[in-house]
Amino acid sequence: MPAPRKREGAWGAGLALTALDVYKLLPKTNCRDCGFPTCLAFAMQLAAGKAGIDKCPTASQEARDALGKAAAPPLPRVTVGTGDSCVTLGDEVVLYRHEKTFYHPTAIAVSVNDALGDDAFRARLAAIRALAFERVGQRLAVDLVALRCGSGDPDRYAMAAAAALAVTGKPLVLVAPCEALAAAAHRVAPSRPVLSPPPDEVEAGARLAASLGLPMIVKARGIPGLESALASARGAGARDLVADPSARTAPEAVAASVAIRRLAIVRRAAEIAYPTAFDLGGDFPAAFAAAAVLIPKYGSLLILDTADPADVFPLLTLRQNVFTDPQRPIQVEPGIYPIGAPAASSPVIVTTNFSLTFFTVRSDIEASKVPAHLLIADCDGMSVLTAWAAGKFTAESIAKTLAESGVAGAVGHRTLILPGMVARLSGRIEELSHWRVLVGPQESSALPGYLRRLPPDAFTPVHG
């Protein structure tokens, strides 16, 4: 009895206009210039987001405006930085990642203060630059440097901004009063920093951001405060805005973050629909907890004071998890993976290239302390049973993997351990590959005991 799986509707993703709404805006001539047989067919494609209004040569300006507005992302996109280090904030379409996916990972900034002595300042920048980790074939790193103005000296602050940019290569969040902000912003404007003036200087900050074409964080207390502060920033000509509700506790921050995301996605409340920023530095209580909840709960940019990898690595990993596309699981490369330090007499274990399957099996083999060769078959990232049911993990494909992986050259024996879930494939694999098949446990968690109990003669070399 399947549970309901809602994809669209009041709380899901979807164009704000229905196909019928769109049809009413079209010329209704069925001229076929758009490539579709009728205007109604074209309208359905437009409403589904699968075609653009530019394909219709005779659409009115009114239709273009209406469709352009409806097709705009409910949460606008703001970019900080340039080139390879450019960070995108916002531009999301759903509240729940299972409805589609979250597109733009929460940007993480780590702070440095310009009041630090030269050596301490350099050391801090080096520590921030070192916050980079490899996981599942992806590089996880801190995205931005938040430069705080503790000195109160515009010249010093501008020099610190130039140094932070030069040392780390990361785009900057400039957190400073407007005088210092102006000095630094002019100095590093081509790197496209985001300006973060104090709440009582929103208008002056917005004029500066507008004059340099830079993005800006608007700080004000709560949703009502933000609504008017954002309006005055827009009034001063600033365009790429990020909303900081200036929360003082983790619960306040999460409540504001959820409120803004819901208003943007569900209510289409354009006046408050902006990417969000949260400064979790200073004496912010339980900053790690706040960051860990704001990553899944819609925070667009977080400023942390900690540069301890023991704090930052878990948060970056959480971000990697949450922003993985749920409809396209991370796959691992098919091939042979040595676990421990396997020898020619070590077991060969086969499974699929679904990342969760791979990591589970790998960690269970590691737990067994029995070195092994883990053979990963290409199954389009499906788990064992799913891949078997889809015809991707079959005797034929396993025999082919055995032959093509070169595993025969890495071991002296010809014995393969097969997941217990697909025990029925064993006979056919033996026929096709001439490898002997041992049926492993049903669940990966039983691998440690299984591997430790394997008879020592299971992997004796073959000759001839």
Binding site: P4, R97, R135, P251, R262, A292, D311, V322, P326
Partner: protein, 306 residues
């Protein structure tokens, strides 16, 4: 222009479930809410409860846990008596993994004896986890159910062993944790099967299988969200409190490997690895968390959210 309300309302509530305590202990009630977690809206009579795992197999402790447990690690009852009040655990999860053939191979009678001693030593609500070996658990759960002098929860029932668990629970007045492998339909199915046995719904918790940070946590996150949204939308079989056991977080190499200099102190990192897993589960909708690190019981238990 006034910004519209952002409150999301739901037609249904999560069924309240109580984990009973011993004499002079505080029982734990979770569920009862008609809102999503960690938000100041709707009606949320009970906060999430955080408990501490008490282990019977302490081989291969990661450095972070070895430091936190100290010399008490070897005696589950002494460990529980000291650590539970100190870290503010609202309940205990006694893992009988020591009865697994690969985890020490204690006998079923020894397992039942530990349950009896623990329940006599602490007043906390207790969930008793099996050892994970199908054959051993088939004898262990009935023995535990009989030995426990007061009601506990048995963890866990799946679609294979649900009759055994439900039978043991009903015979002695215990509750059951219904387990499913990150699969919303299976979660529902196990609850239906348990309901068919006659086990009252207010004695059932959902365990959706908690993947550790970096190792499948995102699947757990979305399954909890979907279970919760379905429950709040009126699917009674899914309108149950969700329990997340954070133990998988400690299986990650990142939580226990001291050899990577650039990853920071493994003692801090291990604790953070579990804590981040716990926050994500709470953000998704978990009602009960089981921690291995006592410090995380305190961190996740509400200082930040109360």
């Amino acid at each position: 222009m006034t910004v519209p309300s952002s409150v999301q309302t739901f037609p249904a509530r999560i069924l309240p479930v109580t984990l009973p305590a011993g004499a002079e202990g505080l029982s734990v009630t979770v569920g009862g809410q008609n809102v999503l977690p960690l938000l100041p809206e709707g009606d949320c009579p009970n906060v999430a409860a955080v408990g501490l795992e008490v282990r019977t197999d302490i081989s291969d402790l990661p450095p972070s846990l070895a430091r936190a447990y100290g010399e008490r690690a070897g005696d589950p009852v002494a460990f529980a008596r000291f650590c539970a009040p100190e870290c503010g655990a609202r309940f205990l999860f006694l893992s009988l993994s020591g009865c697994h053939p690969d985890g020490g191979g204690r006998s079923v009678a020894e397992g039942a004896q530990i349950v009896r001693r623990l329940l006599a030593a602490v007043p906390h609500p207790v969930i008793v986890g099996g050892c994970g070996d199908e054959g051993v658990d088939a004898n262990l759960f009935p023995a535990v159910a009989e030995a426990a002098p007061r009601p506990v929860f048995l963890s866990y029932a799946d679609e294979k062993n649900y009759r055994l668990l439900a039978g043991a629970a009903m015979a002695y007045g215990h509750g059951v944790v219904a387990w499913s492998p990150i699969d919303i339909n299976m979660a529902k199915q196990v609850n239906l099967l348990l309901a068919d046995t006659g086990l009252p719904p207010e004695r059932v918790l959902i365990d959706p299988l908690t993947g550790g940070l970096g190792y499948g946590l995102e699947y757990t996150y979305s399954i909890i969200e979907r279970i919760r949204l379905a429950g709040l939308s009126g699917d009674t079989m899914l309108a149950r409190p969700v329990l997340c056991h954070l133990g998988d977080a400690w299986k990650a190499r990142e939580a226990s490997d001291a050899s990577e200099a650039g990853w920071g102190d493994v003692v801090v990192r291990g604790r953070r690895w579990e804590e981040a897993t716990g926050w994500a589960c709470l953000a998704a909708g978990a009602d009960l968390l089981v921690c291995r690190h006592p410090e995380n019981v305190r961190a996740l238990g509400g200082r930040a959210w109360r």
